[in-house]
Amino acid sequence: MTLAVLVQLRTEQYGYTLRKALADDGLAIDEGTLYPLLRRLESQGLLVSQWREEDKRNKRFYRLSRTGEQILKQLLDEWQGINSSLDRILQEAGRI
């Protein structure tokens, strides 16, 4: 979930559009889970946020920080490594 949020926030979004984008990609996530996660990632320095007015309403926009970009790269490498391992394991299991 963290990885999906970080990937989505490579482009700036506010909470609702982020949630919607994740749900459209098949990863529905409720408000009570997403907002604490965003705060945690921000406190870890992976995200930056700012309140801004849009359509006459105040919205909090999030995007990946520079540290976040580096961490995302590492996480994606790890994820791809795990995926490759799993693929190999599944292929070996399929052979048996």
Binding site: Y14, G15, Y16, T17, R19, D30, E31, G32, T33, Y35, P36, R39, W51, R57, N58, K59, R60
Partner: protein
């Protein structure tokens, strides 16, 4: 009670209810504002989809899907717990030890019998009071322990989790040498009862003399040996308690039992020796005639028989203890040999 309100007002009421349950913090208002914005966006999207403003029922559906204010606040707020995962295993261990292995036995084997003995025949009332006190005691103890651990959680837990040392872990348990739990608990219960019986004895000689209390009384001989006997019972109690709480000390039960047997032997030896040295009228070292029966020839014969019986009993106990000491020595040596097999047969190792 249903309150009629505009859809926007319903949303504000919802956020107000979430605010009530959300712990006060720097981020409280921030979180509420963000949640409010999310809900407003959901409502707005639905309105765009329908091409008209939502009514109260439809807004209510959006809020229902979000969850009850209490649940949403619990998800949004910081995750708090009274006792965390670092201390929780110690907490449950201490709770079990104090409640099950200390309070319950103390009330059943010490407080209960003392209450019964001092209740003047009202045994039912005495046990009811004891159980009532035990019930309250369990609650108070559990409350205090929880409070102490909650304080420790907030002051020491982070440092404890990093201070453990693998080298200080308890040694591997040897299941074949572990004393059985039932045996240890029985030992403990007998020691408790023995202790209570001994403590009550000076006030209630009937506990040892029975109906013979009418014409017999304990001699001053027992004044000298009362405290050592009491101490030995306490040692036995301590031994079974340590065996129970430190099952990994597999060396302890055998060694402690041997030490206790040795002290019992010394005490018995001394008692028999002192009894042999007694030179009162008619050799009555253990029990003497009560004042009311001093002139009775029949009772004089009884008191002589009782004294000889007690002496024979002491001698039998001494012999039994000698045999027990030999058996325990052999068991201890066998245990030590098993524990250090290399020392036993160094030549066969090549």
């Amino acid at each position: 009670m249903s309150k009629s309100s505009t859809p926007r007002e319903l949303l504000s009421r919802y956020l107000q209810a979430v605010r009530f349950w959300l712990p006060r913090s720097r981020t409280q208002e921030d979180l509420l504002a963000e949640l409010g914005e999310d809900l407003r966006s959901q409502i707005e999207e639905k309105e765009t989809e329908l091409g008209r403003p939502l009514d109260e029922k439809e807004v209510s559906d959006v809020l229902k899907r979000c969850g009850s204010p209490m649940l949403v606040a619990a998800r949004l707020g910081p995750k708090g717990y009274l006792i965390g995962p670092t201390l929780f295993p110690i907490y449950t261990f201490v709770l079990k030890m104090v409640l099950l292995w200390i309070l319950v036995p103390v009330f059943l084997f010490i407080v209960g019998p003392v209450n019964v003995a001092s209740a003047g025949g009202r045994w039912g009332d005495a046990w009811a009071n004891t159980l009532g006190d035990l019930w309250s005691g369990l609650f108070v103890a559990a409350g205090i322990i929880t409070l102490v651990f909650a304080v420790l959680e907030r002051t020491h837990a982070p440092s404890w989790s990093s201070k453990w040392d693998p080298l200080k872990l308890p040694p591997l348990q040897r299941p074949e040498r572990r004393t059985s739990l039932v045996q240890t608990v029985c030992d403990m219960a007998f020691s408790y009862f023995g202790l209570i019986w001994l403590l009550l004895l000076p006030h209630y000689p009937i506990l040892i003399l029975g109906p013979a209390k009418a014409f017999l009384k304990l001699s001053p001989f027992w004044h000298s040996f009362y405290v050592p006997i009491l101490l030995l019972t306490l040692v036995a109690l301590l031994r079974s308690t340590i065996t129970l709480v430190r099952p990994q000390w597999d060396w302890f039960p055998l060694s402690a039992q041997l030490v206790q047997t040795a002290f019992t032997l010394i005490l018995l030896n001394f008692m028999i020796h002192v009894a042999g040295q007694t030179h009162n009228a008619g050799w009555h070292p253990f029990v003497i005639l009560a004042d009311s029966a001093r002139n009775s020839l029949q009772y004089a014969r009884v008191v002589a028989i009782v004294n000889v019986s007690i002496l024979l009993g002491l001698i039998s106990a001494w012999l039994a203890m000698c045999i027990a000491a030999l058996v325990q020595c052999w068991q201890l040596m066998r245990y030590l040999r098993r524990r250090n097999p290399g020392a036993q047969q160094p030549a066969h190792s090549t």
